[in-house]
Symmetry: C2
Subunit: 103 residues, 2 copies
Amino acid sequence: MRQIKHPSIDQVELTDIMYALSEPTRLEIVGRLANAGRKLTCGELDLNRPKSSMSHHFKILRAAGLVETLIEGTEHMNALRIAEIEQKFPGVLQSVLTALNKS
Amino acid sequence: MRQIKHPSIDQVELTDIMYALSEPTRLEIVGRLANAGRKLTCGELDLNRPKSSMSHHFKILRAAGLVETLIEGTEHMNALRIAEIEQKFPGVLQSVLTALNKS
DNA sequence: TCTATAATTCGATTATATTCGAACTATAGA
DNA sequence: TCTATAGTTCGAATATAATCGAATTATAGA
């Protein structure tokens, strides 16, 4: 069961996080993953966009270090790397999530 | 003495802020404005880039609502709109500034 | 009114992102 | 071994952004 590679937390750059969060679809994905409180498949998110577009956005979220994807069978389970990100950049992701939930 | 137009704080979007902060030069400008604790002219920042490039980045920072520019004579004095941004998106800008000062 | 200074705007070039259909890969289960 | 399912990768089109020299605007001061 081959797994997807992710950057280690010390490779994660603040600019990459900012960039990943600057796109509405990706911000929506991040918000839903946070609120779900459990791992979600790409399909469960259902933002009404083609699979290839979703895949593209997940790739960027992974590269930024925001999302971790575990392959389980035919599904890809996605989770926010919130604890690690908070440790490295305290408050950054948390405050964005708070702002998201207010709007 | 004509002044530059800025968005009102309720027009400011989280994605625009994230986008503005996703570019290293702009992040640097924001960090210096925060640390200076006073208004700075574009020239004082001196990031070793052509004036037209700096002007472009300031335009984006202004449009995102992050920077306010007051014209005084021939100089443009720039300040972070930190109080307003903090009120609307608590912790977002502050945590980014903290992360910047650690790196 | 002339000159110097500060910064913006314009315009062209190049680079980077987004979008999405079609083809492909990997796994589970019949 | 066949089929269905979940997602990725490819490739091409389109859109958006970054870069920077040259021209322009606005002001201060001589």
